[in-house]
Point group: C2
Chain length 241, copies 2
DNA sequence: CGCAAAATTGAACCCAATCAATGTTCGTGG
DNA sequence: CCACGAACATTGATTGGGTTCAATTTTGCG
């Protein structure tokens, strides 16, 4: 693989991973077994990590950067998800030892931790606490896909964008101002639309007080924006207060 | 609940359930605990079983009949899945003890086995074999949603219909003839389209040798139909040979 | 036989993808 | 530091797939 680097796991990364829901409940010994078998890869932008149809060799964890999960069929490509630190992906395929249903490609330079699938399955078979964490992780993932299916089927592109702006503003501290952390074509694919349509939808949201300049989005009338967006806990995933 | 009946679990049903992947590996004692706590309900057509937003009281298993999973938002409804015997549903919500993301309604009169959520979680916490089966079930469910998301995003309605016809013919024994087991509006919602569009798409498939009369669909040129459908193991879910 | 539900057909409309042209930004090398 | 090119972004025009609304026709069933 040209341009890739491979290192053992740094102490700081190790701590980060240990805190993930998937790993925080397991025994030290088994965690050690997983991490010591793992590789940390430094990957350049636009590198394909996995291809749909292949059998899983590794469980992947995004430590840094972002990774697009997508699928192609008959000359068309659909973005299914964008993974950001710190998250595992393709856990279901690793557990079932079944072919990937998605491909993955880096959107930015990225650090990816790769744990051999055999090791994961072996620890999974031996460590009941780990097995329970895997259940919780899978259940949460399942629910996330269901939400994104609903988001896709029940909302227009403009509504998806409006809700994304509101959610991101909330994450960034309710400053009525959102700073994009990637380029707009990436945002477009995350929202399930073309870059052209993202432009048009941003222009349309100007009617509801959204001002967009470069990578900054200002919310001038959050009430109007919310009325348009119709946020829904059962799609957007926040806890109903 | 008007019009519903409630019985304890018959011996024949018990055997059926015991064979499900979710229950076949657990101990007799724990299986007994689950089943003896369960209710078997006979429900009429068009009865709402669960409503999105509620907390799960029971794990449900369709013993007979069929159940539509759907979701509504802003006055629109989207069908997400149709469950047929013998399958469990809303396992993820029960395990996480999180609100339902989908609602469920019977499409036909149905028998549903209901196991109290508390009992499921308690056995799950105690029986490692059951926990592992839950993992496998969840992983398979996760993959099924991903496939249906791909089916939705990468195919037109006519292509989804063509593939459904081919798959159903295969299930029914490759007789080049498919018999609908529900009405067309139900098939339409399962395929993610309106009844009007199902009609139009069936008419369109006549160009590829599909003859449809009432509830019978004849495949007169399966080669042409397959060329049109472009079946794909990573969407349709068969094992690559 | 007659009615109500289901299915079909047609027309208008909506949302989003595509194609094409142009403008903008940004990183790089001169 | 500026100039240039390539990728990114915007805007307009067109097309396509799908929904909705409305009007019939067909089916199934009491």
């Amino acid at each position: 693989m040209p341009g890739t680097g491979e290192k053992s796991v740094r102490q700081s990364d190790r701590k980060l991973i240990r805190k993930l829901p998937l790993f925080c409940d397991m025994s030290d010994a088994n965690f050690e077994k997983l991490v010591s078998a793992a590789y940390l890869q430094h990957l350049p932008q636009h590198m394909t990590l996995i291809s749909e149809g292949d059998l899983p060799d590794f469980l992947h964890i995004v430590i840094d950067g972002s990774v697009k999960m997508f699928s192609t069929h008959d000359g068309h490509e659909a973005t299914l998800d964008i993974m950001q630190p710190v998250t595992t992906f393709i856990l279901a395929a690793v557990i079932r030892n079944a072919v990937y249903l998605k491909s993955a490609r880096t959107l930015t330079p990225a650090q990816i931790l790769m744990i051999p699938a055999k090791t994961v399955r072996s620890v999974f078979g031996r460590d009941a606490d780990f097995a329970r964490s895997v259940v919780n992780e899978l259940a949460e993932r399942y629910r996330a896909v269901v939400r994104s299916l609903k988001n896709e089927k029940l909302r227009t592109g403009a509504e998806r964008l409006a809700n994304w702006i509101l959610q991101t503003d909330a994450l960034q501290g309710h400053h009525q101002r959102v700073e994009l952390m990637f380029d707009k074509r990436t945002l477009a694919s995350r929202l399930g639309m073309t870059p052209e349509n993202l432009s048009r939808n941003l222009a349309l949201l100007a009617n509801y007080g959204v001002r967009s300049v470069g990578r900054d989005i200002k919310i001038e009338d959050s009430l109007a924006l919310e009325r348009f967006a119709k946020p829904n806990a059962l799609i957007d995933g926040w806890e109903p207060k």
